[in-house]
């Protein structure tokens, strides 16, 4: 029973890691955003290799979690962190986007006024 869970979880984490590596290699995922994904993959992988700790009396007593729930729980925590990280990134991008749009509009106005000015001078 335990070995089956280990195999399933281990395979999933290896697939996750491979996909992440492949995306980084093809430059479709920037390293700064891949770190949390790599950590998630590695953490799940460790779970599948050393289940003894998570089965121990000590771990069960302090958390009240069984092995599988612990894996799900930890994965969920990592996903939460990733989503939070994305929110931060999106907020930053939104701010920069706004700033760019404003500067673009201001430059365009300035440029058009300048053109008009030049045109008037030429025609005189």
């Amino acid at each position: 029973m335990l070995i089956q869970i280990q195999i399933v979880i281990g395979t999933l984490s290896v697939i996750l890691l491979l996909i992440t590596f492949e995306l980084i290699r093809k430059e479709r995922l920037r390293e700064e955003y891949s770190i949390l994904w790599l950590f998630t993959g590695i953490a799940i992988f460790i779970f599948s290799l050393w289940p003894e700790f998570f089965l121990s009396q000590f771990f069960t007593r302090i958390t009240g979690l069984s092995y599988l729930s612990a894996v799900v729980m930890i994965t969920f925590l990592f996903l939460l962190m990733i989503v939070l990280h994305f929110s931060v990134v999106i907020s930053k991008l939104t701010d920069r986007n706004k700033e760019l749009a404003q500067r673009h509009a201001l430059l365009e106005l300035e440029f058009n006024e300048f053109k008009k000015h030049c045109y008037l001078q030429e025609s005189q």
Partner: protein, 245 residues
């Protein structure tokens, strides 16, 4: 009436082709000396052309940024061009340009950094609006007055005059979405002085208010949360002239 200062009227407009021309014209009639900038917030209609046809400068944002982003773009322009006073007038025509001198006078005489045109002071004329709106505004009024530490009756009013200090602050930092109440908190946290002037406002020429009934509650909660969060944010320092954000 004579003002020896560079004055600038800032009109944010989003899909206001029916009203923006009249607003520009109204401002020109009452204050022929001032420069007018219409910030076209990515409108899909002829807002930009109509405003230009009446002789206003038009700042065309490449896409819709929301009222906060549009207003800030206008303040950035005012900051860069060295205007002493910026006046906000809504592009939908609910603000009466003939009331602008009242704001200017208050700014000058009382040494305020920002003068707010209010519909609800003791001497304001009766202003008709929906029950929902009144409840919302009175709630904001209480909350904002508490935070700012002075009585403000109409914190959602977008009819305002700002001096150089306020222009420089807003160019760097202006709240998003429904920014009027939040902007006041920002001002008071940076230690700027503000006050209200009684003005009358028109009913809107065209279109619906950007706040419909369904959105009203969402709006109120959102702004209250934003104001609450603002209280814990870092203060925006006032910059020296020429210093960047």
């Amino acid at each position: 009436m004579e003002f020896h200062r560079k004055i600038f009227v800032l009109i944010p407009a989003y899909n206001e082709e029916g009203a923006v021309g009249k607003v520009v014209e109204g401002v020109k009639n009452h204050l022929p000396e001032v420069d007018i900038l219409v910030v076209n917030d990515g409108s899909a209609d002829l807002t930009s052309e109509k405003a230009r046809a009446r002789g206003a400068l038009v700042l065309d944002l490449p896409f819709n940024l929301g009222i906060g982003g549009a207003m800030q773009a206008g303040y950035k322009y005012a900051d860069a061009k060295g205007y002493d006073i910026a006046i906000q007038v809504d592009g939908d025509g609910q603000h009466d340009p003939k009331e602008i001198p009242k704001l200017l006078r208050a700014l000058e005489e009382r040494q305020w950094d920002i003068a707010i045109g209010s519909r609800f002071t003791a001497n304001s004329a009766e202003y008709k609006s929906s029950m929902m709106r009144r409840v919302g505004i009175s709630l904001f009024s209480k909350v904002i007055s508490m935070i700012v530490g002075q009585q403000l009756t109409d914190p959602t009013s977008g009819f305002r005059a700002a001096n150089r200090r306020a222009i420089r602050l807003f160019a760097c930092d202006y709240p998003q979405d429904y920014p009027e109440p939040e902007a006041l908190v920002l001002l008071s946290r940076s230690g700027l002085k503000m006050g209200e002037v009684a003005v009358s406002m028109n009913q809107r020429y065209f279109g619906e208010s950007s706040i419909t009934k369904i959105k009203a509650i969402y709006y109120m909660v959102k702004v209250l949360v934003a104001i609450f969060v603002d209280c814990f944010k870092k203060r925006t320092p006032l910059r020296e002239e020429g210093e960047r954000c």
